[in-house]
């Protein structure tokens, strides 16, 4: 199983086996290591001093230095200088309660020989992945599903409900995955498996104050000082490594903040990395260069053309292990290759700031929709939608009444728990039009948004509307798409570890408790972050309006230069063979996209979604079928 995950850990490999005893369960741990903290003495799986506990661990415990000191003060002896051993000691003392002490991005499997049980655990925000499946009475687990597919007799099959969820939310709703029979351990939770079966518990979840408390007076200057201290510390502990740590520079506010904080703490000079594009609407190289000059660092760039996206997209799908509705993961794979080529295997990024400080357009959009709903006949208010999306030419040409209709700015919708996300969910789900009759019949009217609503915590209804929107974004899109398809998978595809200071749980909890007006002030997103970091950034970047990270979508694959694999994947016979989409409709879509390099949102979404689903089927479902035949 470990062999197929060697891209995640090219530096070392190890195995631990605890055979079953009588009716008591046994366990096997296989580990591939990306060596970042600790030398050869930190090889894994690592055993406790008495040999009764073993751990295989992916990720980092950033506060391991403080925890080690604390444990030493209580008389514990350490054999290594790394973070893995801290988990063993802390677990010996606290059992599963140790998770609340860990500040890190981690997924680990721990065998407790004293209790003859396995514990699987995952970090709070879902940075590191962890999947599991039961097959023939045995529980298997791994960082990527492709390892589970090595289990003899275990084959990949597509879960239709997960596909419906992807074509609505961009990601399956955890614990469901696109692989039928494979579950994902949800962020902030742990699983215990022993002779009594398996139990999953939550040790952390995102919470917000009640709406009535959210507006309580808070001193903004005090909050700014607290934010500065937390962000500096979150960055400081994420620079801990025995290898050089770099930083990504997108040209936007968030990555510039992190690069600035990191540069202050890396005396030898920080290496930074950026992605550049041909098309002006995607390229941010001007701002990247400005920030690099400001910091006095050498910025390494990776250029990503439309041809590059098309060329590496099958590999992107293989690494992401799920259908994608956007190509934005592809440039991230090119970027991680560039980082690794420069000899760096750890990078800090600005990921998470948009979720915790309300940076995304969707938060502003929901605010404008509420504003419009209060005065439905206004012809002035809906014009704010144009201001929100200056990069969408189609919207600029719409009348106020049409804009209001597009964005569902009606008062009746205000009680919808998914109010903030409903236009995006609706626009995305329009691509389900291409589902085949058979698939529609299997889905039997299933609605992924109803499942979203039913899975919301009871306290959701008490939160401020902005906090509800932040929760939806952080719960449903961040771990399954941003941190996974665009994050961990593309970075680890080249053995690079991303670290995200904004997702330090202390900062997440601090930001959640802030009054909404300190995050989204009018239509100025991330207000408090801008205020706290203004003196560390060039003014043009400190004041820059959020530009969503995007990449060319269907147009990367269409036109006269379309690659053979694209033609093959979208060939009507191939579409019919997998049975998921209507061959006739897909044929017309391909013709339309070939004729028009700038299709609308739905057509772009559908094109990339269908292509990636076909590639997923070819890569995983077909490969499984072949393996089965060979066996």
């Amino acid at each position: 199983m470990g062999k197929v995950l060697v891209h995640r850990g090219p530096d070392d490999r190890g195995i631990f086996v605890a055979p079953a005893e009588g009716r008591e369960v046994g366990a096997g741990l296989s580990h591939v290591r990306l060596s970042i903290v600790g030398g050869a003495d930190s090889a894994q799986p690592m055993l406790s001093a008495d040999g009764s506990i073993a751990v295989a661990f992916n990720g980092e415990i950033f506060n391991y230095v403080e925890l080690r000191e604390e444990l030493r003060a209580r008389g514990r002896n350490f054999r290594t200088g790394g973070d893995t051993e801290v988990i063993l000691h802390l677990y010996e003392e606290m059992g599963e309660a140790c998770l609340s002490r860990l500040n890190g991005d981690f997924a680990f499997a721990l065998w407790d020989g004293r209790q003859r049980r396995v514990m699987l655990a995952r970090d709070r925000m879902g940075v590191r992945p962890l999947f599991y499946a039961e097959h023939a009475g045995t529980l298997y687990f791994a960082s990527e599903v492709k390892a589970l597919l090595q289990v003899p007799g275990f084959t990949a099959a597509l879960d239709p409900l997960a596909l419906d969820q992807i074509f609505t939310i961009w990601s399956p709703i955890a614990p469901r995955t696109i692989f039928s029979g494979v579950s994902e351990l949800e962020p902030g939770s742990f699983l215990i498996a022993d002779t009594g079966g398996r139990r999953i518990s939550t040790y952390w979840s995102l919470d917000f104050p009640d709406a009535a408390e959210a507006g309580a007076p808070t001193d903004e200057n005090e909050a700014v000082q607290k934010l500065k201290a937390l962000l500096e510390d979150a960055t400081r502990i994420r620079l801990r490594a025995d290898v050089p740590v770099g930083a990504c520079l997108s040209g936007g506010l968030d990555s510039s903040v992190i690069a600035a904080l990191a540069a202050e703490q890396v005396p030898k000079g920080l290496a930074t990395f950026s992605i550049t594009f041909d098309s002006p609407e995607h390229d941010e190289s001007g701002f990247q260069a400005m920030m690099a000059r400001h910091l006095g660092v050498r910025n390494h760039t990776a250029h990503c053309s439309e041809g590059d996206i098309a060329a590496i997209f099958p590999e992107v799908v293989r690494l992401a292990e799920k259908p994608l509705l956007r190509t934005a993961a592809a440039p991230m794979l090119k970027l991680s290759a560039r980082i690794r080529e420069a000899g760096v295997k750890v990078v800090l990024t600005g990921e998470g700031a948009d979720e915790i400080f309300a940076g995304y357009d969707i938060f502003k959009e929901a605010q404008v929709r509420r504003f419009c709903a209060r005065q439905p006949d206004s012809s002035i208010r809906p014009q704010l939608f144009r201001k929100l999306y200056p990069y969408l030419p189609g919207l600029q040409k719409q009348t106020p009444a049409t804009l209001a209709a597009f964005f569902g700015a009606d008062i009746a919708a205000l009680n919808d728990p998914l109010f903030s996300h409903r236009p995006r969910l609706r626009a995305t789900a329009a691509a389900k039009l291409f589902f085949s009759g058979d698939l529609k019949a299997q889905l039997a009217g299933y609605d992924a948004t109803e499942e979203m609503v039913s899975s919301l915590p009871h306290r959701f209804a008490r939160w401020h509307p902005l906090h509800q929107a932040q929760y939806l974004e952080t719960r449903f899109l961040l771990p399954g798409y941003i941190l996974s398809s665009q994050g961990d998978r593309m970075a680890m595809g080249n053995g690079v570890e991303g670290r995200f200071p904004f997702l330090d749980h202390r900062l997440v909890e601090f930001a959640a408790a802030l009054p909404p007006r300190m995050k989204l002030k009018g239509l100025n997103e991330k207000h408090i972050l801008r205020k706290a970091m203004a003196d560390r950034l060039p003014e043009a970047i400190g004041r820059r309006v959020k530009q969503p990270y995007r990449a060319p979508d269907s147009r990367a694959f269409t036109g006269a230069g379309a690659l053979d694999y694209v033609r093959a994947a979208l060939d009507p016979r191939h579409i019919a063979a997998h049975g998921l989409f209507s061959p006739n409709a897909v044929c017309k879509l391909v013709d339309k996209c070939n004729a028009n390099p700038a299709p609308g949102f739905r057509d772009d979404t559908a094109f990339v979604g269908i292509l990636s689903t076909q590639l997923w089927m070819d890569t995983f479902a077909k490969a499984s079928t072949n393996a089965e035949k060979a066996a």
Binding site: A427, K588, G600, F601, D603
Partner: protein, 88 residues
């Protein structure tokens, strides 16, 4: 005439927005935006189709849901502008 206009509109929508999938066509009174049939680009395609097919120019101020957000509304809007619309 009204019915013929609606037939022309349905045929256009099935071909342009539903890629031949007739089952996805909403009822004549249903919101096309609400049903996800047209997005911001789709509205512009619809306007171009009406102008080409029925031979009149649509003022920016007429591009509003009251005129364009259902098959019935569009047919009525076309009828007001071109009394013999369906024959065009």
């Amino acid at each position: 005439m009204f019915e013929m206009t609606k037939q022309a509109l349905r045929a256009f929508m099935v071909e342009s927005f539903l890629f031949g999938e007739e089952t996805g066509l909403p009822s004549d009174t249903e919101s096309l935006i609400g049903a996800g049939i047209i997005d911001s680009t789709g509205v512009l395609e619809l306007v171009a189709f009406i102008e080409d097919r029925f031979g009149f120019t649509i003022a920016d101020t007429d591009i509003v849901p009251d005129n364009l957000d259902s098959i019935d509304n569009i047919a009525a809007f076309v009828g007001r502008n071109i009394p013999n619309a369906a024959a065009a």
